[in-house]
Structure formats: C-alpha cells, structure tokens
Symmetry: C2
Subunit: 412 residues, 2 copies
C-alpha cells in the first residue's frame, strides 16, 4: 500500500506557514502502520492540482489532500476534483444545515457565500465537518482513495479522526495497532539505546516495533504491536520499569511538570520556587497548567545579588566567597523561599545561562539545583552546554525532575 499527502497553498511554499499538517498526518498514519511515502506541496492552481492528482493516482493507493477548500475565489480544489472525477456539484441539505448551525451557535452573521460550502461533488462520500464549514470529500476509483480536507489544522484533525481514519481502516483492512509510550527524562537517546539494547532486540524478535521520539529534555519510547498484541506490549513496557526506573516519569502525553503537579495535588502539598538563571521559566511551566493554584503558591525570581541578599537572606560574604552558582547558595535559597512562602516543597535554581559569565571551574551551562521539604534537601550540579535558551529550559526540567524524585521518595 502506497500513501501520499498533497498540501495545497502558497502560504506553505513561501514559508509563511509551516506544514505541520503533513507532520501530524505522517505521525498518525505511522501509528496505524501506514507509511507516508511522499508529501507534495503545491500552489492553489488548477493545473498544478490536476497534474499532482494524476501523478499521485499513477503511483499511490491512498492520497490525502489538504487545503484550498475555503469559500473564496482563490480556493479551487473542489472545482478541480469535480472535473477530475467527472462529477457535478449538488446541494447537500445536511451540510447546509450544519453550516447554518455553525454560524448560529457562534453568533456570526451568515453570508450568502457560505452556501457555496454546501454544494458538493455528487460522486464523493461527504465527511461532515462540525468544527468548520468545509466538508471532507472521499473519492474512490479503481480501488484508489482520494480524500480532500480543509487546511485549517483543527478542522483537518477533526475530519481525520472522525471520518477518515475509521474509513481507511475499513477500506484497507487495517487491524487495530496497540501502542504504549513510555516517557523518560535525564538521559540522552544514544545512552538510553545502549542500556536497553538487549531489551530492544528481544522486543523486535517478538514481532513488536519501537521508536525513540526525542524532544527537548525528553526521550519518548513508543512500543507498537501491529498484530494488536496488548499483552506482549504491556509485558515489554513493564520490563522497562525494572531496567530504567530512574528515568521514567510517565506514559502517554503527560508533561514532566504535570506529573509533579499531580503528585502535589494527590498528596495535598504546596510548592514555591526561587529562580535565578531560569528567570521565571520554571514557574511558568507550572502556572501554564490549568488549575495550578491548587498546589502552586508563588515564586521569587532572585536575579540580582541584591534580591538574593535582601529578600532571601543570603549572607553577602558567603555570596562573594562561594558565588551565586554553588551548592551553599541554592540550599539557602530553597530553604528561605519555602519558609517565607510557607509551602511544603520548594525548588531553587542558580546557574550560568550564558553565553558569557563562565569561569574555568564554573563554565557556561553550570547549574546548581536544590529541592526540599521540611525534612530533606537534595541538591545537584548539572551542565547543559553553552546555548542560553536550551540552558534555561533544561535547567527548569532538571529541577522539576529532581522534585519529582523527592516527592515520590517522601510519599512512598
């Protein structure tokens, strides 16, 4: 089975929009065991679209098309499809009432031009779009499937999930895949691959697939059974918890800060932070979680020496003697903020974010992190290299992970 994607739109070609639709579709197709063989991005032109449909039909079984379906005159995909499949436009009453309802519930004026969106090719199976006005269109010819969808990402995703994937599975006889994604923090992809090499080999011998999905600060391990063998997937994933327990923080789509938020809420504990080099970023990671007021009290961003001394009682002489990036100073910061803001747990972070400010014994990227509750303090030195933005984000994640380990230990 050969699959390809055709993305229509000048805004992608000239770089005003990143083609994240193709990325998402490639990922979702891979999850059901279909490899995307080609992505073509073309202009919103009659000739270009027609030519691309011909080429795609000559080599692929499944052709997914996005873009060019709005009500304005520039959007001509529907016209091309009608001609290509020798089909005329007919009024679809169901779609018309969907569109009218769409405008009504959003209190938007209904313009005549929107009636056009209910005129659809007779030969297409219509996929209803309840989050926008452009329907999905499913064409079949000689066992080959063409699906046309709008280019607005959330409309495309809605149609793929609700209409396209179920029909693809049925049409091409695709059995349900089983996935589990285990999330790790604090270890690079190549080191991880080294540790779990035997496990990975056995997994493949047993007919499972796996992928390393790295993202900043994290590596996700996705284990897949194309045969739908959930028991085997569980068996291998469970083994990971024995092999690399210290690196796993969760499964699925959760973030590191969300796991910590959940632990704090579950144990009815509160949190405060004293941030120096991360300058508010770690607090932002927590406060962007909806409902963060259930555990998060507040932070001090103690960027200057003056704020460290006057607001968090760091002794002036010690600061000069040890430097702000030291075990002694982060331990004072985590202690003082916890007491001052009366929280159960606290985090402090102090480092040299760069690009300047490094010294031979404290190079750029050196970061001291401290986490504590009333009884226990844990502090650790990291180095994340010389990129300022990367340093800030990695330092925040490392601190959050250290807190995660402490909470788990203290609440076992």
């Amino acid at each position: 089975m050969k699959t390809e994607i055709i993305s229509i739109g000048d805004e992608i070609l000239i770089g005003q929009t990143v083609n994240t639709n193709a990325t998402w579709m490639g990922q979702e197709l891979a999850k059901i065991g279909i490899k995307n063989n080609r992505t073509t991005t073309i202009s919103d032109s009659y000739e270009e679209i027609t030519e691309s449909l011909k080429l795609a039909e000559s080599r692929s079984n499944l052709i997914l098309i996005t873009g060019g379906l709005g009500p304005t005159k520039d959007d001509i995909t529907k016209k091309v499809l009608c001609d290509y499949f020798d089909s005329k436009l007919v009024l679809n009453e169901e779609v018309l009432s969907d569109i009218q309802a769409y405008f009504k519930t959003r209190n938007k004026p209904f313009l005549e031009i929107n009636n056009m969106q209910a005129l659809l090719p007779e030969k297409a199976t219509i996929l209803r779009n309840l989050v926008g006005t452009a329907s999905g269109m499913w064409f079949e010819r000689n066992g080959k499937v063409f699906v046309s969808m709008p280019g607005v990402p959330y409309e495309m995703k809605y149609l793929m999930k609700e209409g396209v994937f179920p029909k693809i599975k049925e049409q091409f006889g695709i059995s349900e895949l089983v996935h589990r994604t285990v999330l790790t923090h604090g270890i690079g992809e190549s080191f991880l691959a080294d540790i779990i090499e035997d496990w990975e080999n056995k997994l493949r011998e047993n007919g499972l697939d796996m992928a390393y999905l790295p993202s900043p600060g994290l590596v996700k391990l996705r284990v897949t059974s194309t045969a739908g063998n959930k028991k085997l997937v569980d068996e291998f994933c469970d083994k990971l918890y024995q092999l690399i327990p210290q690196y796993i923080f969760g499964e699925g789509k959760i973030t590191l800060q969300e796991t910590v938020a959940n632990l704090l809420i579950k144990n009815k504990k509160t949190l405060s932070l004293a941030e120096s080099c991360t300058g508010g970023y770690a607090s932002h990671l927590f406060t962007k979680i909806s409902g963060s007021s259930r555990f998060y009290e507040g932070s001090i961003v103690c960027y200057s020496y003056d704020i460290k001394e006057k607001e968090l009682n760091v002794p002036h002489d010690l600061l000069l003697q040890k430097g702000a990036v030291s075990k002694e100073i982060v331990e004072i910061l985590s202690d003082e903020i916890r007491k001052k803001y009366r929280t159960d747990y606290s985090i402090s972070i102090s480092g040299i974010a760069g690009p300047s400010g490094g010294t031979p014994d404290k190079p750029v990227g050196s970061v001291w992190v401290s986490v504590r509750n009333e009884k226990t303090v844990v502090s650790k030195l990291f180095n994340f290299g010389n990129n300022r933005e990367r340093n800030i984000s990695q330092s925040a994640l490392a601190a959050i992970n250290l807190l995660r380990e402490l909470i788990i230990k203290e609440n076992e």
Copy 2:
C-alpha cells in the same frame, strides 16, 4: 523561472521531524523575489530520488535538494546524483583538509568513514561546508541548476547563505531586493489593513510590494522593492510612523522585550515585576535576553491571595471586595514591587487565564496590567479570549508594550 525544493528523509515523512528547512528556504527565496513553486518530500531511496530529479528537471530551472548526505550507508543522495549526471567521485583535497580541521577543532575522533565525505562528484561545483562534513554540490545542465545540501538545518542555512544565494543571484541575474520590516504590536492584521489601505494601494501603484507577516501578538509589515529602490521603500516606511505611530515598536528582527531592554539600558533604568496570571512568563521573556542583569532585578510571582497579601501588602478586605483582577489591586502590586525591589520601573499583571474562573463581569481572558515609575502609573484592562496559553503570552506582551510606551514618554 520555476523553482522547487526536494526534501529527502523518512523522518520528515513519518512526522518525526517538521520540515522547517523548506519553510526557511521558501521565506529566503521570497526575499530575493523567487517564488518556490513546489516542495516534495521523499524517502531516502535510489528510485524515489532519481524519479524526483527527472520530474523536477522537466518542469523547473532551479532545484534545491536537502538531506541524504551523511557518511552512513543510508544516505545515498550523492550516489544518485553521480549516476544522474554521469559523473564519477574524485577526492577533493580542500574538502578533506576542511573535514580533518572540523574534527580537530572539536576534539572529536576522526573516523575513516568521514574520508568518504571528501569524495565528491567530478562534475559538481563544490560549496565548502565549514560547519559540518557534507559539502554542497552545484550541478548545471542545459541552464538548469541542481543544488544538493545536507539536511541539518544550520549546515543547510550556512551553505545557502555563503554559497548558494550568491551563485543563484549571479546565475539568474537577480538584482538585489530592498526590504524594510516594520514591527507592530497591539492591533490585528485585518484592522491594520483597514487603517493603512490607502497607503498600501499607493505603495503598490509605485511598484513596491508588501506582506503582512502575523505571529503571536505581533504583525510584521515587510515592504519590498524588487527594483532595488531604497529611497522609495524608506519614504513609504517613514510614512507608517505618521499613520500608526502608536503600534510600531521597532524594525527588523528585534522582539518587543528587546526594545524595552534597550530602552532601559540606554536610560540606565531598572525593572521588577509582580506577576499573577502570567506566572513568571513575562519575567522569562526578559531574562531570556542575554545580558538582562543590566536592567532586570527580580520578580515576585504572587499567584495566591496569601502571597499578594503578605509579600506585597495588598489589604485583605480590598482583595475580597475588588477581586484580584482589578485596577486597584494591580496598582498596589506595581507600587509595592517597585518599592520593595528598589527599581525605577515596575510591571504588574493580574487576570483570569482560564479555562475556568470567569464571571459575567470578568469573563475568562480579562487581564489588568499596571506599569509605573516613581511619578507615573498607567493601568489598562485587556481581554484575550479563552485559550489559557494564548492569554498568558498575550498578557505578558501587552504589559511589556505598555511599559515601552511609558518609558518613551518619560524619557522624551
């Protein structure tokens, strides 16, 4: 002139990597007046690459190829190109010494496999890559140009800037374009287009081009003369400062927070923040600027009522009476943080980030912002709708812009 991009790599097709290379190339081509007509993403396979080269040659004059040039066995683009152009590989001594120097300066061991990277097609003009090991290759046949580059973004960008663009301009006789990009904040694209409609029409009548480039919270206006008429571009851009002075914060690539940072540094002033709903994000925007310690002292993230009362002296009764999202409270917060942290300027932000917590008179998205120095306080109510992350980022930018206006006014 027809141009297309061929991106090679399974990692893009299956969505593990977003094709940002094509986005960047499309943007940069547009800047010199070349429209990208097509982007094709294909597998790292001999047949796919050969077929795509043939199709591209049949319809385009300039074909830019990225990916598939590493030293491992998977990367076969170089072999395909040799066969396609009937060329043999020869050792390029200059590239060999570049590669050896590359490993030496990075203290990395030089592996034999890397010698392969200095074997290059005889018929190609070699574009030296001093930031990696895979050279660029420039082929010409019947006036058509093929350029092959590695897929690593910074290597591709290096080669495009240093080698490819200068040669493209020469080969295709492209005159230097003149651009100026004016940056605005605080007004949506359609409202902006409405205000400057006459100006835009006149600009086009005078043979200039312009593009609206929206990004979160900002709209960039890029004015271009393909005829290289700098005087005319300047004339129109300067007129914008009379038409929409209140919305323009800078030009080129500067961010809103960087313009404020520059103003503070120039006027030798310092800043502190009291953040509630933005939870540290506004502080992060400032502290991610390298050298922010020159003006930024620190912040309090006063998320809970308790921190607002105990650390920033907000009267308990007033807080209950007016609510945390009110003019009275943000003005106390900006006053208290400025005095407590002894800074010249301060920002405070308090709002309902959502998705819950709204009331009929204070719906989700309501945000009060206050900025001040010793003499003046300016406070303003905004509403940014019901998306939490968008609310946080828009609130921070709105507050930073309000501060920008105050600093300019106070230091005129």
